[in-house]
């Protein structure tokens, strides 16, 4: 899993590098074609929710190491709810953004939606794995001695959170910093 995360991280790095490549090939005005700089209000709510969701996930992981199945279930559930909220907010955000530009508008739109969409898909996969863990946790599958899947999913979730920080900085904040 660690190695899978390496390769996924490389993929995100490549995507973000492509963003910068296009950005510097492009003219002085960015985003181009009169698109407004990214709106930060919704993101300001989404970001802390996603980042804080690493907390309960970690808590769940720590709990099962000590054999506390109930805390595991609770932690997983909290993580799931926070992740789902993040995705829902991203849906709202998309809805609003799509009125202004789409992936077909220009290369900026293509980059914006591909990168955020790709991250959203990762959050989605994380949520599915979370559900699978919950299902097995309820079946009493995990114990202090046997909890590798929890560790793995937890690692993945932290990774998805961490990637968001980079996306936030590059896609949402950088256009405000560099005119």
């Amino acid at each position: 899993m660690v190695i899978l995360i390496f390769t996924e991280a490389t993929l995100f790095a490549i995507l973000l590098t492509s963003y910068f490549f296009i950005r510097f090939q492009s003219g002085p005005v960015w985003p181009p074609d009169g698109i407004k700089k990214p709106e930060l209000t919704v993101v300001a709510i989404m970001t802390p929710i996603l980042l804080l969701s690493s907390g309960p996930m970690h808590w769940a992981d720590v709990s099962i190491r000590k054999g506390r199945v109930r805390w595991l279930k609770l932690g997983l559930l909290l993580t799931f709810l926070m992740g789902a909220t993040f995705l829902t907010l991203q849906g709202f955000e998309y809805h609003k953004t799509l009125e202004e530009f789409t992936p077909r508008t220009n290369v900026y739109g293509s980059l914006f939606f591909t990168i955020t969409g790709f991250h959203g898909a990762h959050v989605g996969v994380g949520l599915l794995m979370n559900l699978w863990l919950q299902f097995n946790a309820w079946r009493g599958r995990f114990s202090a001695a046997d909890h590798l899947p929890v560790e793995v999913v937890s690692l993945y979730w932290h990774f998805v959170d961490a990637v968001w920080v980079f996306i936030l900085v590059v896609l949402y904040l950088s256009p405000h910093v560099w005119p």
Binding site: T7, I14, S18, F21, I22, T105, V107, G109, S110, T114
Partner: protein, 636 residues
């Protein structure tokens, strides 16, 4: 005890013959062979494509093959050789021999391993199905935009390329992950990282290179497919996109890929030379470090494929320096091999002959490679036949000759019978002469101004003779390969019985029977040397005797050890055969077919299959019989 243990292991590891086990096997040896067979078939297909091209180019103004077919042939030749032959072939050898060399019972993730093979096979069939509808990829193996975008190529050919390679990337990625974990966690106790065979080092370096290089190709292909299918604009200059982005992304993958191809071959060379030189390899540490250094520096040289694009001079000087620098690890390796040969007492058998051929050809390809780091020369010669000559010297010399050495070297282990020596030598000389006759004249054609990828040329340009020679050489080379096939067919049936260690090898695969039993080793060997079979006589009969001094696993499991020092840590239960990998791969094949054709129903059904299979995959394995994880005695 020994007999009952062997019988017991046989009973729990053996896979029953028949179609069922053919589909559900997770045995790394069967999967490894399968990789080799399939990859070799792709090799022959791509070879036939090459022959057709050579026939067309034998004379000026030839009309044997039209431009459309020619463009498809050179594209598919490159795609097949690079993606569907060399890497899978070397992964096949890796699959078969890495667990044997490190004294494990299987790969770390046997079902993932089976999955990787099926995905490779289906991706290959997917790619070749393009010929059936007459829309084979026709834009070369690097598929430059904007030629490959919807406007200039409305047919499905680029979709076959992008989707086929995205599909294949799954196989290569899971294969690499599997190799890394296997090598890190399943080495026999005592095989610290500094005692690892160099072939294993090479596979490790390759796998890491794959992990970091492949995402770039994946990203590029996803972007291109989004452009083509959904009207995105990544590579569309009229909407702010950039066509050079594709070239960067492609070559950030593409150049490391050269080393992904070359490094396992280097591992084969380092495996064979000491055995036939009959002495320890000289400069083990240098070789291991050079392998890693090549894999790392290989990520910093991609721009030398783009010197004619019109980039700033400053950037080009940097990449020129990096491209020169990468010569050094290769030079170190070559001189370490030469020193080993000179210090040893070489026996000139077929595998060593192929390695000598490799050394000569690879050095020739290396020196012409250095030339391309000289920016002005690169600008003059890039995209000419000189490049075609150069990379065939590097890839055919650097990878295919070692692969043929490996075939002659390892077939006795894999099939228990020796290859015929006379036919082997005949094949070598045909291939060596044929190779040089094919590709050496291409240097000259290139210097005389012949660009690559042209389906015809006019008479009177000074190119005629060199092209005719190339064509003749190509057919000699083909004949040599035919001799190898005949030799193989004959030898695996009637060849001399090989015995466990026909060459006097030093690595652990020679410590067990030929072919090895399904469980590889009766007891997991304990290693105290970098050349265990030479230094530890007691290992010579590991396949069929128990000494009680070493860990004995009597269940369907293997031994987990620590990453650096390989201290025994845990007993890892291994999964049995399963239909889940092939079912998942089928589902994925359906998804890609659905994406290609745009038929939603196909995609939906395939997603259903894939998801169901994945759920089965991750079904908690409580129903499997609890293996009696007995560890009898641990080496002092």
């Amino acid at each position: 005890m020994a007999i009952s243990l062997a019988a017991r292991l046989e009973q729990i590891w053996e896979e029953k013959p028949g179609l069922g086990s053919w589909l559900d096997t997770v045995d790394h040896k069967r999967i490894g062979k399968r990789y080799c067979y399939t990859a070799f078939v792709f090799f022959l297909v791509a070879g036939i494509e090459a022959m057709l091209m050579r026939a067309q180019l034998a004379r000026p103004d030839e009309t044997l093959i039209g431009p459309k077919a020619f463009n498809e042939l050179f594209s598919m030749h490159g795609i097949t050789m690079i993606f569907f032959f060399v890497t899978p072939m070397l992964f096949g050898f890796g699959n078969y021999f890495v667990p044997l060399m490190i004294g494990a019972r299987d790969m770390a993730f046997p079902r993932l391993n089976a999955f990787g093979y099926w995905v490779f096979l289906f991706a290959g069939l997917f790619m070749y199905s393009s010929f059936l509808i007459g829309e084979a990829p026709n834009n070369g193996w690097f598929n430059y935009v904007p030629f490959s975008d919807k406007h200039f190529t409305p047919s499905l050919s680029p979709d076959f390329y992008t989707l086929g390679l995205l599909f294949l990337a799954l196989s290569t990625t899971v294969g690499s992950i599997n190799f890394i974990v296997t090598i890190f966690k399943l080495r026999a106790p005592g095989m610290s990282i500094s005692r690892m065979p160099l072939f294993v080092w090479a596979i490790l370096a390759t796998s890491f290179a794959v992990i970091f290089a492949l995402p770039s190709l994946t990203a590029a292909n996803v972007m291109l497919e989004l452009d083509r299918r959904f009207g995105f604009h990544f590579f569309d200059p009229s909407r702010g996109g950039d066509v050079v982005l594709w070239q960067h992304l492609f070559w950030i993958f593409g150049h490391p890929d050269v080393y992904i191809i070359f490094l396992p071959a280097v591992g084969i060379v380092s495996a064979i030379i000491p055995v036939f030189a009959r002495r320890s390899i000289i400069g083990y540490v240098f070789l291991a470090l050079a392998t890693m250094a090549t894999a790392i520096v290989g990520f910093g040289v991609w721009v030398h494929h783009m010197f004619a694009v019109g980039l700033p001079n400053l950037a080009m000087t940097f990449f020129s320096a990096a491209s020169l620098l990468i010569t050094i690890p290769s030079a170190v390796q070559i001189f370490a091999w030469l020193a080993t040969l000179i210090a040893g007492k070489p026996v000139l058998r077929t595998p060593l002959l192929f390695i000598l051929g490799f050394l000569f050809i690879f050095v020739m390809g290396g020196v012409t490679g250095v030339m391309f780091a000289a920016v002005p020369f690169d600008q003059q010669i890039t995209d000419s036949y000189f490049v075609v000559a150069h990379f065939h010297y590097v890839l055919f010399g650097g990878a295919v000759f070692p692969i043929f050495a490996a075939i002659h070297y390892w077939v006795p282990k894999m099939y228990g019978r020796m290859m015929d020596e006379g036919l082997g030598k005949l094949a070598f000389w045909l291939m060596f002469i044929g190779f040089n006759l094919t590709f050496f004249p291409m240097h000259i054609a290139g210097l005389l101004g012949m660009p690559r990828r042209i389906y015809t040329y006019h008479a009177g340009l000074g190119w005629d003779l060199w092209n005719l020679l190339s064509t003749i050489g190509g057919f000699v080379l083909g004949l040599g390969i035919l001799v190898v096939i005949v030799n193989f067919m004959k030898s695996v049936r009637t060849g001399a019985v090989a015995g466990p260690d026909p060459w006097g090898g030093e690595t652990l695969e020679w410590a067990t029977t030929s072919p090895p039993p399904p469980y590889n080793f009766l007891e997991i060997p304990t290693v105290r040397s970098a050349e265990p079979v030479w230094d530890q006589p007691e290992l010579r009969d590991t396949g069929h005797a128990v000494h009680g001094r070493q860990p004995v696993l009597v269940g369907h499991e293997t031994l987990g050890t620590s990453v650096m020092d390989a201290d025994a840590e845990s007993v890892i239960p291994m999964p049995h055969g399963s239909y889940v990998p092939v079912a998942t791969a089928c589902g994925l094949a359906g998804i890609f077919a659905g994406l290609l054709t745009g038929i939603v129903a196909v995609t939906a059904i395939a997603v259903g299959i894939a998801v169901t299979a994945t759920l089965f995959w991750f079904r908690v394995r409580e129903e499997e019989e609890p293996g009696p994880s007995v560890v009898v005695g641990v080496a002092p």
